[in-house]
Symmetry: C2
Subunit: 216 residues, 2 copies
DNA sequence: CGGTTGGTTGATATTATTCAATGGTCGTGG
DNA sequence: CCACGACCATTGAATAATATCAACCAACCG
């Protein structure tokens, strides 16, 4: 969002730099090792950034919601370090070539500061998740995840009261929070039974915000 | 290192910008919430970046070795998000005021790219640790930590063959890797018994590099 | 010395994993 | 329209990994 404006504001003639793209549910936007060389801004749909360990396990690094950015890593390297994949939703995005952005940045160093800001924010989010992985139990991690997604959607005007779209599979949550799908199921079942949240056909309602915050 | 050069190379008259500092073992370099407004480059000694959770637990976010940088967060905010504290060693560092750096950056946008690079590298390191926390067992995490520190010291010429200084307490390792001190003790004892490493009076020797890599 | 810090060890408890079976939902092709 | 397979969630039982509690020991330092 911010980023779109930062780039688009540079000059009218630059608009051609923006390329549109879209992928179907579950399709990759780019894969680890690929030389994509573009910064991607999600317009619609949800995606994940993740890596696969040599033994086949998956660690999800972040959930991308509309307005989020991926591919900052291309600023300093050619090959993607992580993969980015659409979730159960179709995803549309716009993409900016790194080479073009660097060209613009020569004339407008403010854009580089935007990159600094983006990376610092992402770094911060990673470290927040690290605290969760290292020092919180399954219930707390799940509660925080739900709150985090709720707040991000809310800020972007994508929440309907206490109800948000929620397209994460339990396996995805597990791979983000360092748990197993089975355990995520058990914990979420309890939270539903406690009347903290309700989950139906791709949408989640927070029934007891206070209880949720208390857990988290 | 890199960063020192990037800043120092800007012009001779800028050298006055660099302030020296040092703290005793276990002292804070800065604390979460403080408005320090400086980027700190470690010259000597080890430190940790960490946060405390409301319930009193600690998550170590990274280990800082000589040459490492802290305080990049001040580029975009006034108050520290994390604390930085010396380990069992005295620490000396140099510090650069953010305000001065921003002034220099106006004349030399290359410096901003340096910031981008620093943040991307740190972000990358955080995510590597996330994978460890989320998807690896205690033995693998510890093996990777030892390898990581060994390689970083080696690169900076601070290793003596397979022997490195090693000033981490088990509690610190535990708080970094999301374990308890007791469990770290147990796992490391086994690794020592297996002849993978030896640990004596603040120095660690990797006896079987291949075995260590196999575990990690 | 005596106190403090850090490491080791044992017994037990908790948390989460693994394995396996079951049922629901959804899209697709016959 | 139905049957089938793919994917997802739920549940139970057994197990493994790690935490917790508590005691003890060693090194170090004033």
């Amino acid at each position: 969002m911010e980023f779109c404006n930062a780039v688009m504001g540079v000059g009218r003639e630059e608009r051609r730099l923006k390329a549109e793209g879209s992928v179907r549910p579950r399709q990759h936007i780019y894969k680890s090792g690929e030389a994509r060389g573009q910064i991607v801004v999600l317009r619609d749909g949800w995606a994940i950034r993740f890596v696969l360990t040599p033994d086949g396990r998956r660690q999800v690094l972040s959930i991308l919601l509309p307005g989020d950015i991926a591919g900052g890593e291309f600023l300093m390297r050619n090959e993607a370090r992580v993969s980015v994949q659409a979730l159960a939703t179709p995803v549309s995005y716009c993409a900016f070539d790194i080479a073009d952005l660097k060209e613009i940045a020569k004339r407008d160093p403010g854009l580089i500061w935007t990159f600094v800001g983006i990376e610092i924010a992402e770094h911060e989010a990673s470290e927040a998740l690290m605290v969760g992985l290292g020092r919180r139990n399954a219930e707390q991690r799940i509660a925080r995840l739900v709150l985090d997604i709720y707040e991000r959607l809310e800020r972007r005007g994508l929440a309907d009261g206490a109800t948000i779209p929620f397209v994460l599979r339990q396996k995805t949550i597990a791979d983000l929070l360092g748990l197993t799908q089975v355990h995520v199921s058990r914990v979420m079942t309890v939270m539903k039974e406690q009347g903290i949240m309700r989950l139906a056909r791709g949408s989640l309602t927070i029934l007891d915000m206070q209880a949720l915050r208390d857990v988290a």
